[in-house]
């Protein structure tokens, strides 16, 4: 069996694991740092909106051009410094559209293009074009996004609870901010493809968070019936329990996108494909990261503020202190019968909460007498 399979086994038994919740402050800090960078990039550099959003100039060449579409694309990009959209028309002329150009600049580009394409500059017609993605489409997309977020928060609040809904929303905003920030920093042009990539991320990020939350919900349903683990402990356990799944899913989702980004981009240089795959790559990675490092610890934080959970934590800590004083390993104290969710190896799976006495490790692997 592969390494990761072994890791899965040991994660399951709780032999290894990472204290996601305990170290949350570090990850919060990192995320805040990245988010601030992203926002700074956004405000300082701004987004480079493509022709579909802001319009630009369209040049129409004379009929029967010998230059190919990709050649013309190259010329246009060189002349303007922007991505260009080139289409060959039925009569053999080329329509070259370039974003973000005003009237005075369009003349110099026209001259340059004419030279590159080997035609007289008078024969090229220049026109300003409006955005094909009007305000209407953009506004409707925002509207849809807002409605979706409200609905999903309501749904998560019902299916799980409001704390999880809130955490999922924070994780979602986190992912989108990072992705937009990368766009601003790299300076890629924002195309409809980018927007759609962003919407895909939104769906994926939530999807990933929900999978982790589902396991969290399952494992915490009887939390008040025991005094051994705090909410944070169990939250941590559930992240570690789904870690292999998270890694696998992320790898499988990222592999094709990475291929698009590195192979497609490597051979072709910048292009539409590259733009989209970059936004997807960053977004998917951020989505996987945030559901583990941000969303779940955030739920734990919110939950621990609950009086019920506070009381539980107090009981657990008191018990641990007592056990430490006696130099005895803590035995699981499961109060209910038929559910074997809290039998020994489940309980042993919680790894390294900060307050845990070192002696606890000795208890692992010992029969607890709970198995039937």
């Amino acid at each position: 069996m592969s390494k990761l399979g072994n890791l899965g086994a040991r994660l399951h038994r709780g032999e290894v694991g990472y204290d996601f919740v305990g170290n949350r402050k570090i990850w919060y800090g990192i995320s805040i740092l990245i988010t601030i960078t992203a926002i700074l990039g956004l405000t300082v550099r701004g987004l480079n909106m493509g022709i579909e959003f802001q319009g630009g100039a369209a040049f129409t060449t004379p009929k029967h051009m010998s230059a190919s579409v990709s050649q013309a694309e190259q010329y246009a990009q060189d002349a303007s410094g922007h991505d260009a959209v080139v289409q060959k028309l039925g009569d053999g002329s080329l329509r070259i559209q370039i974003a973000g150009i005003d009237t005075d600049k369009s003349d110099s580009i026209k001259t340059k293009l004419a030279k590159d394409l080997n035609v007289s500059s008078e024969s090229i017609a220049a026109d300003l074009v409006g955005p094909s993605w009007g305000d209407q489409i953009a506004n409707k997309a925002w509207e849809g996004l807002a409605i979706f977020m409200v609905l999903v928060v309501i749904y998560l609040a019902i299916a799980f609870e409001w704390r999880m809904a809130l955490a999922a929303l924070v994780a979602l905003i986190h992912d989108i901010t990072i992705t937009i920030g990368i766009y601003a920093l790299v300076g890629f042009e924002v195309t409809p493809g980018t927007v759609i990539g962003l919407l895909t991320i939104l769906g994926y990020s939530l999807y990933d968070t929900v999978v982790v939350f589902d396991s969290l919900k399952e494992q915490t349903k009887d939390i008040t019936k025991q005094t051994r683990w705090t909410y944070s402990d169990i939250a941590n356990r559930s992240i570690n329990g789904t870690l292999v799944r998270s890694i696998n899913t992320t790898v499988v989702a990222l592999l094709p996108v990475a291929a698009l980004l590195f192979i497609g981009g490597g051979f072709l240089g910048a292009g539409v494909l590259n733009d989209i795959s970059l936004s997807l790559f960053v977004g998917l990675a951020a989505g996987a990261y945030s559901s583990i490092f941000i969303a779940t610890p955030l739920v734990a934080d919110l939950k621990e503020a609950e009086p019920q959970m506070k009381a539980l934590k107090k009981r657990v800590l008191a018990k641990r202190a007592q056990a430490a004083a006696q130099g005895e390993p803590v035995e699981p104290e499961v109060t209910d019968g038929p559910d074997d969710d809290y039998d020994d190896e489940d309980a042993a799976a919680v790894v390294g909460p900060r307050t845990q006495p070192a002696s606890r490790n000795r208890g692992r692997g010992r029969p607890s007498g709970k198995r039937r």
């Binding site: 399979g5 289409q87 026109d127 489409i137 409809p192 919407l199 499988v252 698009l260 692997g365």
Partner: protein, 589 residues
């Protein structure tokens, strides 16, 4: 615990063959349908396949040269966008060029003739009082409901909304041939079956009366028009578009119009209200009276006065002269009847509209409010907006990516890849076939963003069986043998899959309903792949797992099955020795 589990596994194990057969039949049927329909590839969007580009030039009305401004052009773009995109999945593009041109790009394979008509019927809109109307019975002599077939739409002032058309009709005390309901219309038509002239005679009397009321001067022009009306046959295709063309707003005219699928001919008075008098029109769903979809219009101040005056006059008449025809480019698009003067500057047109009908009527009404017409400047083909090599490289990269996924699954899940890879494959086939079928079906066109969405969908599809497999492995680690492990893992995995897919589907549904254009196309792809994910995992992955769990190779946990209890670190139920404690794993961070 044991008893219900047994029951569950027994019932689940009786089904897997059936589920597999079901999905295989579905695949074969869909693929067969795809080949039978002759559309074996999905229709590609303009960025991937190119298409037709139509350039339209705005022509202002006389004396309104200032009408060519950014606001009006943008409105025209919005309206054309909505018209040409229909369901929003056809990926057409509309943009302005220069100050007075609009470019409409339509992907290859679209009925460009139809699209040209959609963007080209650029609306001169008038409200004209109806003087007479009659169904045009074609050469086939198929009987049709008489006179006021327009019963399907009746306007009512917003203050007192009428619920149905029939109520206003019966209130107007006209026991004539007005078909008040579909049922009546049908029965009338049946009665008329033996004597097709019956309906004609009913409307003949109607056509006689307008000449008396409208032309007190009894001018020659009126008589000529009368003759023209009598001769008019709106069942002829060539006539339908031309009959009312070029009529001046101040003259009476004849026109054709289609109501509930039947062509009617109309004799219409001079325009009472101009299209430019409409400030705004929109389609709304009336929830308060459950009247269904209706169109609301807001008039300008002047238009409201004119409308109040004309409706006040019309309301005094009997059918069909209490109707006004909404005439768009010489064709009657709707002819609601009026029961009282409508004041207040706004009106509703209600009737048994579908959402689409209401939307398109509202579009036409707002379109007519623009003092612009558009002339087709040029129609030409365009190549793909994305370079051919981009698509090519994308496909190669995608294939490499998929190969990597397969290799990863093989290494990590070994024997389980027998389930994982076919699951991905079934998903891919279903997605492809359905997309290919939707091309001709609803005008669905695949563009680059949709392709990217499909690539991400690989991740979501894979996640479903990864969640399932990990659950099974967890159960095996608990010391269970494979078959109970599968049956015990399934309900938990199923819940996770359903909950997370529901969130994805919610995103898709909301975006599809609320948005327009490409975003709608994307939402459609997302929703489709999410639904297919659920279908595949329920009907393919799970049953196949159940069946394979019976095989010795898997059941005994062969080294290469991906389910080797030893490799998974399963705890033998009776083993109570201490496990070797593992060193800190390098991957843990």
């Amino acid at each position: 615990m044991a008893a219900p589990k047994k029951g569950r596994s027994a019932s689940a194990q009786s089904k897997p063959g059936r589920s597999l057969a079901l999905i295989l039949i579905a695949i074969v049927a869909l693929t067969g349908g795809m080949f039978a329909s002759g559309h074996t590839t999905p229709r590609l969007g303009i960025d991937l396949a190119g298409g037709t580009s139509i350039t339209l030039r705005a022509v202002p009305e006389k004396g309104q040269e200032s009408a060519i401004n950014k606001a009006n052009m943008d409105t025209a773009v919005d309206i054309m966008n909505r018209r040409v995109n229909g369901l929003g999945v056809s990926e057409a593009e509309v943009q302005t060029q220069g100050t007075r041109n609009i470019i409409v790009n339509i992907p290859k394979g679209t009925n460009s003739e139809e699209a040209r008509q959609q963007v080209g019927t650029t609306a001169k809109l008038y409200f004209r009082p109806v003087l007479a109307t009659e169904a045009s019975v074609g050469a086939s002599a198929s009987p049709s409901p008489s006179a006021s077939g327009s019963a399907s739409s009746s306007p009512s002032s917003s203050a007192s909304p009428k619920t149905t058309a029939s109520s206003s009709k019966t209130g107007s005390a006209t026991p004539t041939a007005t078909a008040t309901s579909q049922g009546r219309a049908a029965s009338d038509a049946l009665k008329a079956d033996s004597t097709p002239s019956a309906s004609a005679s009913a409307s003949a009397s109607a056509s006689a009366s307008p000449s008396a009321s409208s032309s007190s001067a009894a001018s020659e022009a009126a008589a000529k028009l009368e003759a023209q009306y009598t001769a008019l046959d709106c069942s002829k295709k060539s006539v339908q578009n031309t009959a009312g063309k070029g009529a001046k707003a101040t003259d009476a005219t004849v026109a054709c119009g289609k109501v509930s699928g039947i062509w009617y001919k109309y004799l219409l008075g001079p325009a009472a209200v101009d299209g430019t008098d409409v400030k705004k029109a929109s389609a709304v769903y009336n929830t308060t009276t459950a009247a269904g979809w209706q169109v609301t219009m807001d008039f300008t101040g002047k238009g409201g006065d004119k409308f109040a005056k004309v409706t006040g006059e019309l309301a005094k008449n009997t059918a069909p002269q209490n109707e006004f025809g909404i005439v768009l480019d010489g064709q009657v698009v709707s002819s609601p009847s009026v029961s009282s003067s409508i004041t207040g500057g706004s009106a509703e047109i209600s009737g048994s509209f579908t959402q689409e009908e209401a939307q398109s009527l509202a579009n036409m009404l707002s379109y007519g409010a623009l003092p612009l017409t558009f002339k087709e400047d040029s129609v030409t083909t365009v190549t793909a907006a994305l370079g051919g090599e981009q698509l090519h490289a994308g496909l190669i990269a995608g294939a490499i990516g998929l190969a990597l996924v397969v290799i990863y699954l093989l290494i990590f899940y070994r024997g389980l890849s027998v389930i994982a890879i076919p699951s991905l494959l079934v998903s891919a086939i279903l997605t492809y076939v359905i997309m290919a079928l939707l091309g001709p079906g609803i005008g669905f066109a695949l563009n680059l963003p949709a392709v990217c969405g499909a690539i991400v969908a690989i991740g979501i599809t894979a996640d479903s069986f990864i969640v399932f497999f990990e659950r099974i492995r967890d159960e095996i680690r608990e010391g269970r043998s494979l078959r109970p492990a599968v049956e015990r893992a399934w309900p938990r995995a199923r819940r996770t899959i359903l909950v997370s897919d529901f969130v994805s589907f919610l995103a898709a549904a909301v975006l599809f309903i609320v948005t327009v254009g490409k975003v709608q196309g994307f939402a459609f792809t997302l929703g489709l792949t999410t639904v297919l994910d659920v279908v595949v995992v329920f009907l393919f992955t799970k049953p196949l797992m159940t069946i394979l769990a019976r095989r010795k190779f898997f059941a005994t946990g062969h080294k290469f099955s991906g389910l080797d209890p030893k490799a998974l670190g399963a705890k033998a139920p009776l083993r109570r020795t201490r496990r070797p404690s593992a060193p800190v794993d390098p991957k843990e961070a």
